[in-house]
Symmetry: C2
Subunit: 413 residues, 2 copies
C-alpha cells in the first residue's frame, strides 16, 4: 500500500482526488500495488466532502508521516509550494506537481534534490494540461537530438486570437468573453502578456536541451498589440496569428528562445489549433516533426496528468534517469538580437511609391499582402528571413512620412 498526500484542494486538487478515486482499481493494477490518498492539505474546511476525514491544515503532519511516499503539490505559485516540495523531497518522498511557475523557476534545484534523495520529481501537468508531453519527450523521443520546440502553450490567448480571427472581435471584446467564460482571470496579465507561456517553454527547453532556462532570460511579448487590422491581412497570406513559445538549437551549443505572437502559415499543424486548445511541435533529427495536441488546461485534463505521474512515482522507486537537466548560466541562451525569422510589417505610407522604394531599400524584395479593410495609404508586407536586430534597425529607418503600425514575426513551424 502506497499512501499519497495532495497539497491544495482547488480546481486541480479536487480534480486529482476525483480522477484518482474514479479509476483507483485500474491505477492499482498499473502501479502493481494498492494506493490511497491519506491526506489532503487545505486551509479551508470541507465538512461535506466525502473525503472530510483526510483534510489537514498542518503540512508537518504529512512531512512527518513516513507512510506518505508521494506528495502531490497542486497549490501553485512559489510560496509556500517551494518549501513544501523541497522538504518533501529531502524527506525521501517523491513529488508530483502541476506548478509551472515552480518548475520554471526552481526545476534544476528540485531535480537535483530529488536525485540526491533517490526519489522522483514529476511535472507532466505543468505543460499542456492533459496532453502527454514531458514523458514523451524524455522517454519516447530519447533517440533524437531535438532541434526545436514550438508550441501554442496558453489556452486563454489562443481563445482570444481565435475569436479575433473567426468573429472579427477586437482584443478587448474577446478578452471580456474569455473572462465571462472563466478562461481568463480578472487580472489577465500573466496570460495575455506571455508570462504563462514563457514558463512552459522554459520547462520544455530545459528538458529538450538539458540545461535550465530561467524565465527572466527569455524574450517575452504578449498579444496585447495584435490588432484586427493585422488579422485582416492574414487571409491573403494563408496564415493565422498565434502566441508561440519556441526554442531551437543553434551553433556553439547555444539555443535561441522566445515567446511572442507569430504569423503561422495554414499548412502548419499549429495553425488549426483553435479556442482553448494547446499544441506542441517537437522537431527531432530522426523523427522529424511530431505534434501533441489537446486541452492545455481544465480540471480533469490537468488532473489526468497529475494522476498519471502519481502512478509513475509509485512504480519507479529509483530516480528517473531520463527526466532531468542541469543548472545553467544565462550564457547558453543566444541574445534575442540574433534571432532569425521573417517579419510581417504593417505601416502607413507617406507617399505609396516613395514608401515602397524605401521598403525595397531597407528590406529587399518583400511580399505585399492585401486586406478588404485596409486603410488609405496602408501597406502590409512580409520580409525574407533576417536577424532581429537587423529588422529592428530597418524598421527604425522607415522614413519619409511613413509610420510603422504593426510588426509580427513569421515562423515556419
Amino acid at each position: 500500500m502506497q499512501k499519497i498526500a495532495v497539497l491544495g484542494y482547488g480546481v486541480v486538487g479536487s480534480g486529482t482526488v476525483e480522477v484518482f478515486y474514479k479509476n483507483k482499481d485500474n491505477l492499482e493494477k498499473k502501479a502493481g500495488e494498492e494506493l490511497d490518498i491519506k491526506y489532503i492539505l487545505d486551509l479551508r474546511d470541507f465538512p461535506d466532502s466525502p473525503y472530510a476525514d483526510k483534510f489537514v491544515k498542518d503540512f508537518n503532519v504529512i512531512l512527518n508521516d513516513p507512510e506518505v511516499r508521494v506528495v502531490t503539490e497542486v497549490i501553485g505559485g512559489i510560496k509556500p509550494s517551494y518549501d513544501f516540495v523541497k522538504s518533501s523531497l529531502l524527506a525521501g518522498k517523491s513529488v508530483v506537481t502541476s506548478n509551472k511557475e515552480l518548475v520554471a523557476k526552481k526545476g534544476a534545484e528540485l531535480l537535483k534534490i530529488a536525485h540526491d534523495n533517490h526519489v522522483n520529481f514529476f511535472f507532466e501537468a505543468s505543460v499542456g494540461g492533459g496532453i502527454p508531453i514531458i514523458k514523451p519527450i524524455h522517454a519516447c523521443l530519447e533517440a533524437n537530438e531535438i532541434d526545436a520546440i514550438a508550441g501554442i502553450l496558453n489556452g486563454t490567448t489562443n481563445f482570444i486570437l481565435t475569436k479575433m480571427f473567426r468573429e472579427g472581435m477586437s482584443f478587448d471584446e474577446a478578452l471580456k468573453i474569455a473572462q465571462q467564460l472563466g478562461y481568463a482571470e480578472r487580472d489577465p496579465s500573466a496570460d495575455v502578456e506571455g508570462a504563462d507561456a514563457c514558463r512552459k517553454i522554459c520547462i520544455l527547453a530545459s528538458l529538450a536541451f538539458g540545461r535550465h532556462v530561467y524565465p527572466e532570460n527569455v524574450h517575452t511579448e504578449g498579444i496585447t498589440n495584435v490588432t484586427l487590422a493585422d488579422v485582416e491581412y492574414m487571409d491573403s497570406f494563408d496564415a493565422k496569428i498565434k502566441l508561440i513559445g519556441c526554442a531551437r538549437r543553434e551553433e556553439n551549443n547555444e539555443i535561441s528562445i522566445g515567446v511572442f505572437p507569430a504569423v503561422i502559415k495554414d499548412e502548419s499543424q499549429l495553425s488549426g489549433v483553435s479556442d482553448v486548445f494547446n499544441a506542441i511541435l517537437v522537431r527531432g533529427d530522426a523523427t522529424g516533426d511530431v505534434v501533441f495536441y489537446g486541452k492545455g488546461a481544465g480540471k480533469l485534463p490537468t488532473a489526468s496528468a497529475v494522476v498519471s505521474d502519481i502512478v509513475s512515482a509509485v512504480k519507479h522507486n529509483e530516480t528517473s534517469r531520463s527526466l532531468g537537466w542541469s543548472d545553467s548560466e544565462q550564457s547558453f541562451i543566444r541574445s534575442f538580437d540574433e534571432f532569425t525569422c521573417a517579419n510581417y510589417v504593417r505601416l502607413k505610407a507617406g507617399n505609396i511609391d516613395v514608401t515602397k522604394a524605401v521598403i525595397k531599400a531597407l528590406f529587399g524584395d518583400v511580399k505585399y499582402l492585401s486586406s478588404n479593410k485596409k486603410e488609405e495609404n496602408e501597406l502590409a508586407f512580409v520580409t525574407d528571413v533576417m536577424k532581429e536586430k537587423d529588422a529592428v534597425s530597418a524598421l527604425e529607418k522607415v522614413s519619409d512620412g511613413a509610420e510603422i503600425l504593426g510588426r509580427i514575426r513569421v515562423l515556419d513551424y
Copy 2:
C-alpha cells in the same frame, strides 16, 4: 553492459543501427548503463558495412548467447519473425519490434509469454512510425477510461487522398506517383485496401480496451472506390475524405471497430493531416481529445521508436505492468451492422423531384451538397446518424430509375 541483437538489416534495421550508434552516449546516459549491438541477423552479406563483424546468418547464435538481453525484430511478416520473437521471449530476452502484422495477430500470446518470463515485449514502432503513441496511451493516459480512438494510420493512402484533393488527380494517377516516390509498393493492396491500417487499429484498440482485437474480425474497406466526383462535393461540406481506423467503447463492454474511408469535417484535427503524415486521436474521459501527429513511416522515424523501446527494455528488467491485454473471443466486438454514423451519398437520379421524394422517405431530412463538376441529374447529400444496417437497407431501396454512385461514412472525430 547490455548487449542487443537486431534481426533484419532492411530499411528499419539499418536505420535502427544508425540511430543507435549516432546517439549511443546519450542513450547510455538514459539507460544508466553501457549498451552495444552485438549481432545483426541477415541472410545477405554486407562486407563493406562498418558493422560487418556483427553480421550472423544463424538465429541460434543470438538465441543461445546469454549476453544478449534485448532482441530487436525488424524483419516484418509472421514467418520467421514469430518463431524468433517467441523463442527469444522464452529464453528470457526482452523483444522490441516494429512488426505490426505480428503484434496484431499474435500480440496477446506474445505479451503473455513475456509476462511469464519476466521480460518485456515492446512495439512502439508498430503504429505511427516515429509518433509516440503506445507508451503515451499506457503510461500517460492511464488515469483515463478511453472512449474512442480514431486515426489516419496509413501514410500511402493519405498521400493518395491528398493528391486527389489538392491536385484533382484520379486515384490511379496518384497511386502511380506514390509508387514512383517509393511511398507505395509495386503491389499496393495492403495499403490501399486497408489491411495495414486495420492491423494498426487492432493494436491500438487492444491496448485501449484491454482485450485482443484480431484483424479478421474488423470490418475493413480501402480507398479504391473513392472517386474524384466524391472529392468535388467535399468543398461544399467543408470536409475532406480520409482513410480512418476507429474503435469506440459501446454499452455492455462491447466495442465497435472498423477501417474505411470517411468524410472528416475541416474543424477536426484529423482533416489537416496531409501527405504521408499520420495522426491518432485518443478520446479519454478525463483528458478529452488528445491528438498525436507525425511521420507514420520511414527509416529514421521508425528507427527512433525502435531505439526508444530498446532503452525502455534495458531500463525495465521487470515486465511492464501497464502495457498489455488479455486474449479475447470475437464476442466483445459489436457487429458492424450496428455501427452508427452519418452517411454521404452520391447518386444519379431518374427524375430529380421523384428521387428527392424517395430520399426523404428513406433517409428523412438530408443536407444536399453542391459540386462545380456535378453530372446531370446527380445528387449528393449527407444523412443524419443512423445504423449501418439501416443505411445499407435504405440504399438498396433507392428506386425509380435512381442509381447509387457512391457512399462514404461521415465521422465526427
